[in-house]
Point group: C2
Chain length 278, copies 2
DNA sequence: ATCACTTACGGGTGACGTAAAAATC
DNA sequence: GATTTTTACGTCACCCGTAAGTGAT
């Protein structure tokens, strides 16, 4: 059989026009290319070049061969990419969520359950989540509404309650609960990766400003050292107890402040997801 | 890049199930296959096998890889075949004719004109000739009728007159000409590769028998030593003068006994054919 | 004991590099 | 003189084979 390196050199020659240029781009010496092209001709039993004393060009057969060579090289490159991608999908559990809260609960459980797999997660919009789920980019996704679609299985997973987080001197600190209307106009320190919560609070408190922080720890740090309110939820209070230091958490009483999360996945991943729900 | 020999060994393993069997069929030693598979895994950065102590099977990724490998190997085999076929077509002038007569004139001229090319020819039915001409299997064909088709160029090339060939004692030997009707009922020695002439004589002399000879020289030999008539034409009389030894050639006067031949070719071969017609 | 795979080691092919020559611009 | 191809020669990688070891049937 004709080895790939011969086809590579043939393609390089076609692309660059001279043996020297081809060799240059292949990072090998020029005589190697000369020899390889002869070997290719010999193996095919066919002449591929018109040779003058110090000039060499592809003949008709050579052009045809170069085309085929390109196709084969592309196919091999594709094979390599596909196999790597397949293997990666096989060894990673990629999860998408509409908000970070459920991931805080899920990811530790996932890494414990699938110790040999890499767990990775994204926070995306519902639209992007569904598209990628369909593409098998995610093993499952988490939405804040149930999904009625034959293609997917949908199971309620958990809820999350939004709180306002203030220091002791803040007027709201003494209240048992608060409404978005009451808090509207306050300026908040906010983590930037809050998913759908961002649109909720912006809609419900249109007069407020939200100072977004890329870094989750910075949110707690800045909030602890300022009078600005921030957000928390029943989940973050449990997972990140440090965030409660010196802060009073008051729940929003509006229905929009309570989210119910649903695990959504294809049937083929039922087994994996069942272990999560167990 | 991944070399072909690795893909070959992977495919062989998939096909035969064990490294030893694969090695056997590849005509190499078994440890070579073992090493090659490891190398393949290393180059892909992916595990392709489930290995137990003395057992090795393809995993999911391996199966996928083997499928891709097969496709690439097939593609390469195809490339090789196509290139060889292309080159061969480039270096051969293949010609098809409805009858052997025109080839007797043409082939010597062709071999003289294209000394560096291999000349080969077939005698086929009109239908087969047109199909293969369209397929570029022939540079040109010769039919016994003009063809009015935009795709092809058609030029009158030569004529051929059919004769009956008898010995001196045969009644027809004294005639200046003969009709098929008069000769009907006679039994003929006939060369088997006469193309369309066979259908002509069978139609025109339905009561005759035709004893076909595969070997052209046998026709002359047998005819010379028998009282049976045979066929000749103005062309064979010129090209094979030995066939006249002791034989009288009497022309058939019927119009069907005279053929006019036409050279038919695609425009792309105009140059080549022009040199024949010059 | 046989079979299947791996590991270790040695050998030879062949792919590559360097150097130099030939030819063209 | 610069560029391009070919030829010659030396080197090293690597692919293969043999032999030996391990574990399973």
């Amino acid at each position: 059989m004709i080895e790939i390196y011969l086809l590579e050199q043939l393609c390089a020659f076609k692309e660059y026009g001279t043996l020297s240029e081809a060799a240059e781009h292949l990072n090998i010496a020029q005589p190697s290319v000369s020899r390889a092209m002869k070997k290719l001709e010999e193996q095919l039993g066919v002449s591929l070049f018109e040779r003058q004393k110090n000039k060499i060009v592809l003949n008709q057969t050579g052009l045809l061969a170069a085309e085929y060579a390109r196709r084969i090289l592309d196919e091999e490159k594709n094979m390599e990419a596909q196999i790597k991608a397949f293997d990666r999908r096989l060894h990673t559990v990629n999860v998408g969520s509409i908000a970070p809260g459920p991931l805080m609960v899920l990811l530790p459980r996932l890494t414990a359950l699938f110790a040999d797999q890499v767990v990775s997660s994204d926070i995306e919009t519902e639209e992007a989540l569904l598209q990628k789920l369909n593409h098998n980019d995610y093993r499952f996704i988490i939405l804040n509404r149930p999904l009625d679609d034959e293609k997917y299985i949908c199971k309620e997973y958990m809820t999350e309650q939004l709180y306002i987080s203030v220091n002791h001197f803040h007027p709201i600190a003494t209240q048992k609960s608060v409404t978005f209307a009451e808090a509207d106009g306050q300026n908040f320190i906010m983590y930037s990766q809050v998913g759908f919560w961002e649109s909720i609070v912006k809609e419900q408190m249109p007069s407020s400003n939200f100072y977004k922080q890329e870094n989750l720890e910075a949110v707690g740090e800045i909030a602890a050292n300022s009078n600005l309110p921030s957000f928390s939820t029943d989940i973050t209070q449990k997972i990140l107890p440090s965030r409660r230091n010196g802060r009073i958490n008051v729940p929003f009483s509006d229905p929009a402040a309570k989210a119910t999360y649903y695990l959504i996945y294809k049937k083929e991943n039922a087994q994996l997801c069942a272990r999560l729900l167990a």
